[in-house]
Symmetry: C2
């Protein structure tokens, strides 16, 4: 069995924005003995977005003046330029990632399902897949969240439809809907449903649409806040903030959504779950230790505190309370991970780090992050 | 006469994006003995945009992760945050500038018309206005372009309407229009006119909408290119590229637009001029020397090569063929100008320069600018 394994220095799991980006960073550092494994295609999660969904972070080709396109995953590319779009759809963004993977000849093994990940006595990672198996010195986990929807947040979740499973909002018919989860994806769902529905109830355990947090991870982005206001102005929307759903029950002709205070919302069509995503780390659950809030505990190099040689890239990275949940945030850690691996492999990383830092893609000092606006 | 003059270290002419931004830079350097003079209000040019016109550079509050909002004019603010908009209108952007001026207590003397600018024997600048007069050691010119439309590019221009003079596209009636100038403002005009007009002819001396230049100064931004394509798909638009207008003639019932090759376009309503803007430096024409392409010749500190102590800020700044014609470009020169003045006044500028450089608002090395995209 052992002989049939392919040896690589680094295995990356996930060929999305994080996997492609960190793969390019490895290449830029001169490391080429790696593989990117994904059970789907390059950018699979983006391909599965509802057709109408678009990036909330705008792309613009400002690279030439030191402002890297917010949705770029490498220092010299721009989705705005490649796609000719300001707010790309998921399908368009997948095309950008695919173009990048092709152009850079990334060693992406797509449609390859990882069955198990174990470690041998030397600390090497053994990846069993339904195609080739791999033995890797270092493992970078970059599977993202979208393919791991939070489907079962309460009793009766099986009566609901998670927003990530909707191919197009146009396919849902009905005059009334209830959406559980009032943040970005809930507001996006409400906007598209409003073109046919008369009445949409938006439910959240927290306040909806009200936040003074200037950081887009903590409040609706301006375009979403405007869409929310527009729906309210058009009398399409009922907000149910501070409504903590504990169960959904199906009756003969309706669905009843119940809160912890036994408030009820009744709706004729299956409630929609805009409840976000789980980490996607189930395969390697034992290799990460989570903090009390459920985020993997990481070293300053984004290495698992529990498993040496295992790194995390993507939207679940968190440091000092800062969540790297947008592409323009988590891409600033690709080079940190690549450099950590490069140094252990004896590669000189100084020029590489300068290059990425210059491009705005190397963040190792969080002191200036998350500051609020003057006015 | 001399006694009644108010003495300042620096006079800034123009309270738009450039004037407000460089004023804040002076403050951040500890220089407070200055005045900003404008014949209109703060952000006057933006207030005069057609009501429907929006920024083509998207705003996003990514400041907290080292990516300053593309339309910010100071290191710690974001129009996306202040206005709650991704692509603000001119009126909204003026509100952002006004909020900034108020918050920072900028010494803005608005509704003050500068009649003449002369120099005394000590090289001081004497500004005569219809209100207070000023004597300044240094003069920063930041009047922008929008209030100086290129109204007379050819014979018969008087029969035309410049796009910057349109308050709202909804006020123009007619079923057919011709627009002379096929770049950003021409496409914007066509888009809004198309909601009522049946047929719009877009005329340009160059190719229209086709460019491989990734820099937004040299090609339509993605949103505009998409709007152009949409108009063509809807059969609303006729393109007349490579049509060099030499004259517009008025007949009894129409307007005839003639090209250098004696091609003709006939239209029933006054042709619209989307022919851009002049420099606005007429008041100080003698103090700048222009290069053969009409751009003021500047030192590496953006000082007039002809007049010591006179600096230029805003979209007419050009170095090594790079045009700083977007806010995210020309704002990177505010601190260069402020530091040049500060050094001559004996102020230590090193912390200030570090602060602005860190914020992405200090560009003195153009070698990495304007590079093209990998893919």
């Amino acid at each position: 069995m052992r002989q049939r394994m392919k040896c690589v220095e680094v295995a990356i799991v996930g060929a999305g924005a994080a996997g492609v980006g960190v793969g390019i960073a490895l290449q830029d550092l001169g490391l080429n003995n790696f593989v990117i494994v994904d059970r789907g295609r390059v950018g699979e999660s983006f391909r599965r977005w509802p057709r109408e969904m678009r990036f909330i972070t705008p792309s613009f080709y400002s690279n030439g003046f030191g402002l890297l396109d917010l949705n770029s995953v490498s220092p010299t590319t721009s989705p705005a330029f490649t796609l000719g779009e300001q707010n790309p759809t998921g399908l368009q963004y997948a095309a950008y990632l695919e173009a990048l993977a092709t152009y850079r000849h990334l060693p992406a093994e797509t449609k390859t399902n990882v069955h198990s990940i174990t470690r041998d006595k030397n600390g090497r990672f053994l990846l069993r897949t339904d195609r080739e198996d791999y033995e890797a010195q270092y493992l970078i986990w970059g599977t993202g969240e979208f393919q791991y929807p939070n489907r079962c947040p309460f009793v009766g979740s099986e009566h609901c439809v998670h927003t990530s499973c909707v191919q197009s909002w146009a396919e849902l018919s009905g005059s009334e809907f209830a959406i559980i989860g009032g943040f970005e994806s809930g507001v996006d769902a409400a906007t598209h449903l409003a073109s046919t529905a008369d009445r949409i109830t938006l439910i959240d355990r927290n306040p909806i649409g009200i936040s003074d947090d200037p950081d887009p991870s903590g409040s609706l982005v301006p375009t979403s806040a405007l869409r929310l206001r527009d729906l309210l102005d058009r009398d399409k929307l009922v907000l149910r903030p501070d409504f903590h759903v504990v169960a959904v029950e199906r009756t003969s002709d309706a669905f009843v959504i119940r809160s912890h205070a036994d408030d009820r919302v009744t709706v004729s069509s299956p409630p929609l779950l805009a409840t976000g995503f789980l980490g996607g780390q189930t395969l390697i659950q034992g290799l990460f230790e989570n903090d009390p809030e459920g985020f993997p505990m990481l070293t300053p190099q984004d290495e698992s505190v529990k498993t040496q040689g295992l790194f995390l890239v993507g939207p679940k990275v968190r440091h000092e309370g800062l969540l790297f949940c947008f592409i323009y945030k988590f891409r600033q850690r690709f080079a940190v991970v690549a450099a950590a691996i490069g140094e252990r492999l004896g590669v000189d990383t100084s020029d590489f780090i300068d290059y990425y830092r210059e491009a705005g893609m190397y963040l190792d000092d969080f002191s200036c992050c998350g500051e609020s606006c003057e006015c």
